[in-house]
Symmetry: C2
Subunit: 297 residues, 2 copies
């Protein structure tokens, strides 16, 4: 199957599942739920849930286990969405546009947007701790721990705090790596790891998929830096060139466009190599890595 077809199929699957899992905007809390749903269904490539599902598919054919991975992926999408809502706030990046639509606080006010983010983050753990039948509670707890660590103070939130604190200041490349690894890399790696866990990966598969997850997380962030520097607001659906305006250190700022593109290529190759021996079931993971790189052209 072509990767684009694969992605659009899975995207639909993710969005249908998200819709069925997410609370309906009715009853006394409907305003709050509406604010959460707004950002959750405002588009997005659904990279994390698709990675989670593809990772499970690489290790199991069991539809029940793949469905568990899909639910975990939806929880990760809730977390990713909350992070975007909070990143866009006036006190943070102060963005008015996200995926070509008004950001959450533009429609629901600052308080509403802060709470919508809080609600999505908390709801993600509600999903992860749902009564599950196909996976053991031991696996569930392990997955919850991985997600909390990836999204927490030494992961995504911590990375965002570092990113904000580092605006308009210069720091060594190692520090940029720490920011990338925590802010973006951790949750992407976690998507691959938790999908593998849900699918019942053995320890060797787990190790390989973790390496894949790390490499693809890095590739993703390098490409993101690259696109911010080279693309347009129209194409991105968010403000292009904003890194430079905010004085943010990025891969292109350190290495220039060409070298950065090579580094992205290297990361994608590392990701692909980590999957040696998986063969056909991991084909979508390989194509996903290539797809991320293809965005740079």
């Amino acid at each position: 199957m072509e990767i684009k077809e694969y992605l659009s199929d899975k995207k639909r699957l993710v969005e249908d599942k998200l819709d069925s899992l997410m609370l309906a905007a009715e009853g006394p809390f409907s305003g709050h739920i509406e604010a959460m749903r707004y950002s959750l269904f405002a588009g997005g490539k659904r990279v994390r849930p698709i990675l989670c599902l593809a990772s499970a598919e690489a290790v199991t054919n069991d539809p029940a286990l793949r469905d568990e991975a899909l639910i975990i992926g939806c929880a990760l999408e809730c977390i990713h969405t909350y992070s975007l809502i909070h990143d866009d706030l006036p006190a943070m990046d102060d963005d008015q546009l996200r995926r070509g639509k008004p950001t959450n606080h533009m429609l629901h006010g600052e308080a509403g947007a802060i709470l919508a983010g809080d609600g999505l983050l908390t709801f993600a753990f509600e999903l992860l701790a749902r009564p599950a039948t196909a996976i053991s509670t031991t696996t569930q707890v392990k997955i919850i721990r991985l997600v909390a660590e990836a999204a927490g103070p030494l992961g995504m939130v911590g990375g965002q705090a570092l990113d904000i604190a580092g605006e308009n200041s210069s720091y060594p490349f190692e520090h940029l790596q720490t920011i990338h690894r925590s802010k973006t890399g951790a949750l992407i790696r976690c998507a691959v790891q938790t999908g593998a866990l849900a699918g019942g990966a053995n320890s060797e598969q787990m190790q390989q998929l973790t390496s894949y997850g790390e490499a693809i997380g890095l590739a993703f962030q390098i490409v993101d830096d690259l696109l911010d520097a080279t693309s347009t607001t129209e194409v991105l659906g968010k403000s292009a060139g904003s890194d430079q305006i905010r004085g943010k250190a990025t891969y292109p700022a350190f290495f220039g466009i060409e070298k950065t593109r090579n580094l992205a290529r290297n990361a994608v190759e590392q990701a692909t190599q980590a999957l040696a021996g998986f063969d056909a079931p991991a084909a979508p993971l390989v194509q996903l890595a290539e797809y991320i790189y293809a965005r740079t052209y």
Copy 2:
């Protein structure tokens, strides 16, 4: 033991445990961790962790199980603290003072405070999903689910959204009850329930403690409304009279001071009655209910 002595003993226990569980403010993320620690250790009565522990103590003598309840209580305190940090933000209640000290955003900036709250919420789930030996993973998942529901869109966050949306508007008493039950009641009830679960409560005990938790959650909120209307900023350590200034519906606004005091008394008696048959091990829970009422004089 006198309740005041019990409370100060347990408070120390909670704070020592919190300190040992919480990340140290070192390494690249130290600024972010420092912001979390600031509010976590800025005082507070530690009502939720103490209730969680006292609830476990009502059903078990096992120190290992009581320790699990203490850790869960610490996770709940992280969640409670995050909610205060976000509530105090300029976009929400815009408070400069909390427990007699500058609020988080006054010291760490708005972005820093939003992220500190996000970090504490996420870290709470890291604590709840830690490798535990004394309780089963099945119990752990059940506890995580209860906490996520209590703190989530139909619980605490949803209640805060309702509260903010309802400022300066009039609504029926039933709506005030919904706000109270979700914004404050849910997490307090959850503290009692999760402590009971960690302690290995049987289903009858669980039912009784749930009733206790609901009643004490209600008592707590009624008393909070009462204190805001009758106390001083100096005594409260936060702005007194702020409910009236913000045009918030409260128990005193609906019923006047005396009737409100009676309603608090009723709730405390309901809480106490729910514990019939527990005898001595539940004595601290009874005294805690009385203590909450005693704050109204």
